[in-house]
């Protein structure tokens, strides 16, 4: 079954974000319209300054929009009412004074859940991300890839409707990143979450996504939405297929056409 035939869970209409910097107005996002479908893996790609991270932060409620509307299942998203959204940061941001399990239960603890109950749920998520047996370790004892797994488990523990991921693998080495991509696809399928994933790596986006939202800078806007046809179980082999490279090239062409314009002007 094609996941893109599911119903729309999030409707974004006419989203604008302006920053003021040294008395100069900067249009970070201009008139963004987007429908997010339940259960899909949606990637946002684009060069630096296209507003993809700003977009994700607005959806989470970490920063305020200037105008426009975001509705999640018909309910407008207000700032910081974030129990239905889980955010995975680029830096893992694990608290060094907390063990792995205490870090993982953070969201539930902040929501006022009893520690034992929260630990049980956190443990489930640690199992899902493959970190059983490390719950009593401290973050400094873990590798970069393992820390990102905890980061992911922490966001999943609050059982969000949508998972927002901001270049979570950017700081990892190439080999770990590939392994984490495959792991993420497995976790996405098992947890059945909707994912919005920001990256600046086109091949990462094509490998992970059902749809790739290509963004352009100055002002930040959606340029094109590319649907990736391979929607069933993905394996590393997909990366060798001509369809994969075709999709990567298509997106690269869109992005590069803008960079040429930028250089000309």
């Amino acid at each position: 079954m094609n996941v893109l035939e599911n119903k729309v869970m999030m409707e974004i209409r006419g989203l604008n974000k302006e920053f003021t910097q040294n008395d100069e107005k900067l249009q970070a996002l201009q008139n963004v319209d987007l429908d997010v479908v339940e259960g899909e893996f949606l990637c946002l790609v684009g060069p630096s300054g296209c507003g993809k991270t700003t977009f994700l932060r607005i959806v989470q409620g970490l920063i305020e929009k200037t105008s426009g509307s975001i509705e999640l299942y018909g309910q407008p998203i207000t700032q910081r009412s974030s129990a239905d959204r889980g955010f995975v940061f680029q830096q893992d941001n694990l608290y060094p004074w907390r063990t792995v399990i205490a870090n993982t239960r953070l969201g539930l603890e902040l929501a006022g859940m009893d520690t034992n109950e929260a630990d049980a749920k956190a443990m489930e998520m640690l199992k899902l991300v493959g970190l059983e047996g490390f719950e009593k370790s401290y973050p400094r004892e873990l590798s970069g890839g393992m820390r990102q797994r905890v980061n992911l488990a922490r966001a999943l523990t609050i059982d969000p409707k949508v998972l927002l991921m901001d270049e979570p693998f950017a700081a990892l080495d190439a080999i770990t990143r590939e392994a984490m991509q495959t792991e993420l696809l497995r976790i996405w399928r098992e947890a059945g979450k909707t994912v919005m994933f920001v990256t600046h790596q086109i091949d990462e986006a094509v490998y992970l996504a059902n749809r790739v939202v290509v963004m352009a800078p100055r002002p930040g806007r959606i340029e094109k939405i590319v649907t990736i046809t391979e929607t069933t179980v993905r394996s590393e082999d997909v990366k060798r297929s001509p369809e994969f490279h075709q999709a990567v090239d298509e997106i690269r062409d869109i992005i590069e056409s803008h960079e040429r314009e930028d250089i000309m002007t």
């Binding site: 910081r80 974030s82 955010f87 608290y95 060094p96 902040l110 929501a111």
Partner: protein, 283 residues
């Protein structure tokens, strides 16, 4: 050298756990630390003894360590020393407990509340630099010769480094840690208790260590201005009779107390902040 012997030596040299010590044996880092401390103490005490016997022979200024020890045995036997130690210890303990509790609370408040910070921060800095011991006579007059006045002196002198360190510790918290808590819908109070305070623990403990050092000075100075019991008084009275040995005894006890408390705080930091590691340490 036979091959067998050579390989043993190499192994001992390259071993991760311990190195070949001076006496040619393998020792753990803990034992090495202890051995080095004992070596230092032995050198100091032997030097002290020799200097007291053959350097400065005038007993008005100096006493060999053996005589200091004997004067301690005497003072202990008469029951006098215990009373002084207990009085000074109580003054330090209650003063430090007050300074720690109020210092942390006030430090957090200054760090998180802009209005409080702008009102109080310059004043705290000014008071930190003020020689607060100078107001000890006023506190003695106000609270009398008992331990209350000395507790007040210790509190006043020790509270400022704790306030300042707590404030600095909280304000150096990584911004992204706070953002993470907000992404989970944390309230402001939760950010303070779950993020800011734990992240500042190493700074707070360093502040308490600074406070203890100053607090010990506060105990002695406070007692010199007026007290019926305490190590400060013990030293002062020995000075009145030109007896150097008990004076040094009092000083050594205070020195030992400072070392013990510092050690205790270091241990507390290791327990409460095991994540806080200094990579230049070998251990």
């Amino acid at each position: 050298m036979s091959d067998a012997v050579k390989s043993t030596v190499e192994e001992a040299d390259g071993g991760e756990e311990g190195r070949t010590g001076f006496f040619g044996r393998n020792e753990s880092p803990k034992n090495r630390k202890r051995r080095r401390l004992i070596t230092s103490l032995v050198v100091i005490f032997v030097g002290w003894e020799l200097f007291g016997r053959y350097g400065i022979e005038n007993r008005l200024f100096f006493a060999p360590i053996s005589e200091i020890f004997l004067s301690g045995v005497d003072a202990w036997a008469s029951g006098e020393l215990q009373g002084h130690i207990s009085a000074s210890f109580q003054e330090l303990l209650y003063g430090m407990l007050l300074a720690t509790g109020i210092g942390i609370a006030f430090g957090v408040l200054i760090a998180v509340n802009q209005s409080v910070r702008e009102h109080c921060d310059p004043i705290v800095s000014a008071l930190y630099a003020t020689p607060t011991v100078a107001i000890a006579p006023i506190l003695i007059t106000a609270f009398g010769l008992g331990i209350t006045s000395k507790v007040a002196v210790v509190f006043l002198i020790a509270v400022f480094p704790i306030v300042i360190n707590t404030t600095v510790g909280i304000r150096q918290t990584q911004e992204s840690f706070i953002e993470t808590a907000y992404s989970f819908n944390a309230t402001r109070w939760q950010v303070i208790t779950k993020v800011l305070v734990p992240s500042s623990i190493p700074f707070v403990i360093a502040g308490i260590r600074l406070g203890v050092g100053r607090g010990i000075v506060g105990v002695v100075v406070g007692e010199l201005f007026g007290a019926d019991r305490g190590l400060g008084i013990f030293i002062f009275e020995a000075g009145q009779t030109f007896d150097a040995a008990p004076q040094f005894l009092g000083i050594l006890i205070l020195c030992f107390a400072g070392m013990t408390l510092t050690g205790l705080l270091q241990w507390t930091e290791k327990k409460m902040a095991p994540w806080h590691h200094f990579s230049l340490d070998k251990e």
